[in-house]
Structures are given as C-alpha cells and as structure tokens.
Amino acid sequence: MSDLKQELKEKIITQLNLEDIAIEEIADNDSLFGDGLGLDSIDALELIVMLDKDYGIKLTDPKEGKKIFESIEVMSNYITEHRTK
C-alpha cells in the first residue's frame, strides 16, 4: 500500500473519530459514504478542510467533494495530482 493511502486512512480514522474502525478494515476501494464507512455530510466538510490544510487543495464546491471522496483510491489519486504541499 502506498504511503499516501496509509496516511489518508490514519487521518480519516483520527480526524473523523472513527474509534471502532482499524486501518486494516478500510480497503482502498471501499466507499467512504453511505453503506461503506458511513460518513456523513459533516465528515465531507471536514475532509474538505483536511485537503486544504494538509495538501493545499481548495475545494469551493461541496459537490466536487462527493466525487473526490468516493474511496481512498480516488482520493489518493486526486491528491497526488493536485497537491500544492
């Protein structure tokens, strides 16, 4: 597993307070919202802040986030391509 994917899983668990979930339980292609990890709209907003704070990516349209936060795989690809820090 790439370092970035590992890093994202760790961050999601700690920053979104998913205390009952271990890193190994999140597969790269699991969906993060809905039936997958069960994240909600506040988590999505929190991930937008994380993209900005940790990777220098500014999303202004929450709808964009919906696609980017589909899975760890998609997120990691997007960050690799757009990161400014």
């Binding site: 709209s41 506040i42 929450p62």
Partner: protein
C-alpha cells in the same frame, strides 16, 4: 384558558432602531445587507447586515448607561428599554424575562476583546439585562439554535398558561462575529452575494445582527394596534441529522400540523407565511416539501433574510414582529433577492409590496440540531 397576545414590540437592526422605521424600510424594499470589509470579522469581504457602530453608540449613549456594555447588551437594552417604558408594565415577581440567543456575547471570547471572558456565559448576559431593568424574577435564557426567537414566544405562552408569570418580556438577538462567520464559512454555507431565498440562483446565507423584543401578555388593556393573538404553536425535532434538515421536512411538517391543531386552523385560514428561507439549498428545499405536504404551497410567502440576513437567535422573533406589522398594515412584503423559483415544489413567493386584507399568519423556523418551530398568529383588531 386566557388568550395570550404579542403586544409592545421593538426592533434594533441595520434597518433602524424601532419597529415602525424598520417596517417602513421593508415597505420600500430597502435591504440592510451590504458588503463588509473588516478583517477582524472575516479575512475576505463578505455580505452581512450589520448595525452601524457609531449610530449604536450614539443611540445607546442617550440612555445614560453608567457602566460598560458589550455590543449585544447595548442592542438588547435599547430594544427592551422602549417597550418596558411604553407598556408601563411594573416589573414585579409576576413578570418574566426570556432572552433568546444562540451565541450571546461570543465576541468576548476573542483574545482582542477587552471585556472579561466571563461575559461569554449566557447566564451572565441574562443577569446584566435583568439588573439593568431591575427585573425581580430570574432570567430564562433560551439557546435553541435558529428556532430560539420563535420558540421563546411559545415558552413565554406556556409559562403564562402554567401560572409562573402573568406577563413576559422577550428579547432575542445575536451579533455578527468572527466566531459565527468562520463557522458558517467552514460549512460552505455563506453566499458570496446578497442571499436569494427560494431562488434558482441561491447560494447560501448572509449573517445579520438584530435585537428584537416583545411583550407577551394576557391583558387586553396592554394591547397595541398591531397586537396579535398566539393561536397555536409547536416545536418538533426532525430526529434525522444534527446539521442537515430532513429531506422530507418531517419536523417542520409535524410542527405546523401540531400548531394548526392547537389553533383549530387549517391551510385555508392562513393568509400569509413568514417562512425561514435561509437561502441554503437544503433548507429552502426542505421547507417547500414540508409546506406542500400541508397544502400550503399556494399561500403568499416570504423570507425576510434578504433584508436582515440570518439573525440567528433573533430571527424568529424579528420576523414575527414584522409579520404583526404586515397584518396591521394589511400589506404583504416581498421576499427580496428572489427572481425564479428554485425548489422542487410550488411556493407562492411574494414578489412586490401588495395590499391585501390579512387576518392570520404562520411563522416557521428550522435550525441545527434538527429543531423546527411553527406558530399561528391572528390579528386582534380587524
């Protein structure tokens, strides 16, 4: 049971420091929302409805205060002072004080604010207002998100019915602060332009500040010409999500239904709806769904957020007071900012100041925590 009324009222806002002036500005289609450039409040320029600080200082100075008061305290004291004097209600142990606010003196948490940090406690705010006017009873501070202002009316009515008080003064308000602006911005809820409730082009809220006040009473001889009777009210939770409104408008639907039941009224009795209309995508859509579930899609409706922005803990009370004047003047005021319907269900948005015989209106509000409140008010003098 005795009838309960809303009587003496006052609004301190960017559109003026008393109800008649504010309502006159609304009549003329004037909005209090302007572009604000103040880095102490927010890093980038933003639209909000803010009271001019010099005018506030000057007007408050006329009361001859003998100590320092925060911005919100000044607004609330000015707002209440007028109606306490005009109503000449004696502040005995039968008179209650309800303060509705979401954040109170939250600006005092900012390290640059000179006031002591203890001022951020809402109970402290309550006692400052109590002591200024020498209320005898303990103040009741209500902090129930964006329904606080209208829920405060319900609560006043309930305490009166229970015999705790004979009359209650309510003051509701919040200020525009860096705390609130940064928070709503992190929610991606702020509109980059003046807000456009229910419009296809709406893109979020503007924040505003206000201190609105009203006397809740059962005494017929204490009624002003614009007084209204509280016919029915209710507050129901969505039980769905802590920030997003229910997709089916469940809590709002139940609140209106239950308020109708108490008022012994139905959609046919409502001449006008003063809705919440924050201009976020989800809120306005939710309201359209809830109102249509109750066959209220055809009733003339406005949101006053286009005049005042979202004034949080003051909004429900402010908008109820404007509704009282709307009934008194037999005039519907337009929902400014609106051009084309942008919700999935029909709504009869008021587009221009219109003369119409009005007797009864419905006020609704919804807020974080899944709370919703609805109340039905009827004109006393027709």
């Amino acid at each position: 049971m005795n009838k309960t009324y809303l009587s003496y009222n006052n609004i301190v806002s960017a559109l003026g420091f008393d109800s008649p002036r504010v309502v006159q500005n609304i009549h003329e289609g004037i909005s209090g929302i302007t572009l604000i450039e103040d880095e102490n409040l927010f890093p980038n320029p933003f639209y909000a409805s803010i009271i001019d600080s010099n005018s506030l200082k000057e007007a408050f100075g006329l009361l001859g205060p003998n100590s320092d008061y925060t911005r919100l305290e000044q607004m609330m004291i000015m707002s209440l002072d007028k109606i306490i004097k005009e109503s000449s209600v004696k502040l005995t142990d039968r008179v209650g004080l309800i303060i509705s606010t979401t954040k109170g003196n939250i600006d005092t948490l900012d390290p640059t604010n000179p006031m002591p940090k203890e001022r951020a406690y809402l109970g402290t705010l309550g006692h400052i207002i109590k002591n200024y006017f020498r209320f005898v009873t303990e103040p009741i501070v209500l902090s129930n998100a964006c329904v606080s202002g209208i829920l405060a009316i319900s609560i006043a009515k309930r305490f009166i019915a229970q015999g705790t008080f004979d009359q209650v003064f309510i003051v509701g308000g919040d200020i525009v602060s860096n705390f609130i602006l940064s928070g709503f911005n992190s929610f991606q809820a702020m509109s980059p332009l003046p807000c456009k409730p229910y419009c296809k082009e709406r893109s979020g809220i503007n924040i505003g500040e206000v201190a609105a006040s009203v006397l809740v009473t059962t005494e017929q001889k204490k009624l002003v010409p614009e007084a209204v009777e509280i016919m029915g009210e209710a507050s129901c939770n969505d039980a769905n999500h802590i920030s997003g409104p229910s997709r089916t408008g469940e809590g709002l639907y139940r609140s209106i239904q239950s308020a109708f039941k108490e008022a012994n009224a139905g959609p046919q009795d409502i001449d006008y709806i003063s809705a919440h209309g924050t201009a976020t995508n989800f809120n306005d859509e939710m309201e359209a769904i809830a109102l249509n579930r109750l066959d209220l899609g055809g009733v003339p409706l406005n949101s006053l957020k286009g005049y005042f922005g979202h004034t949080l803990g003051g909004s429900g009370l402010l908008e109820t007071i404007v509704g009282m004047h709307s009934l008194y003047h037999n005039t519907l005021y337009p929902s400014i900012g609106f051009t084309e319907l942008g919700v999935s269900q029909p709504l009869n948005i008021i587009r221009a100041t219109t003369a119409k015989k009005l007797d009864c209106f419905l006020k609704t509000a919804s807020g974080f925590g899944g709370c919703n409140t609805a109340a039905v008010f009827k004109k006393v003098q027709s």
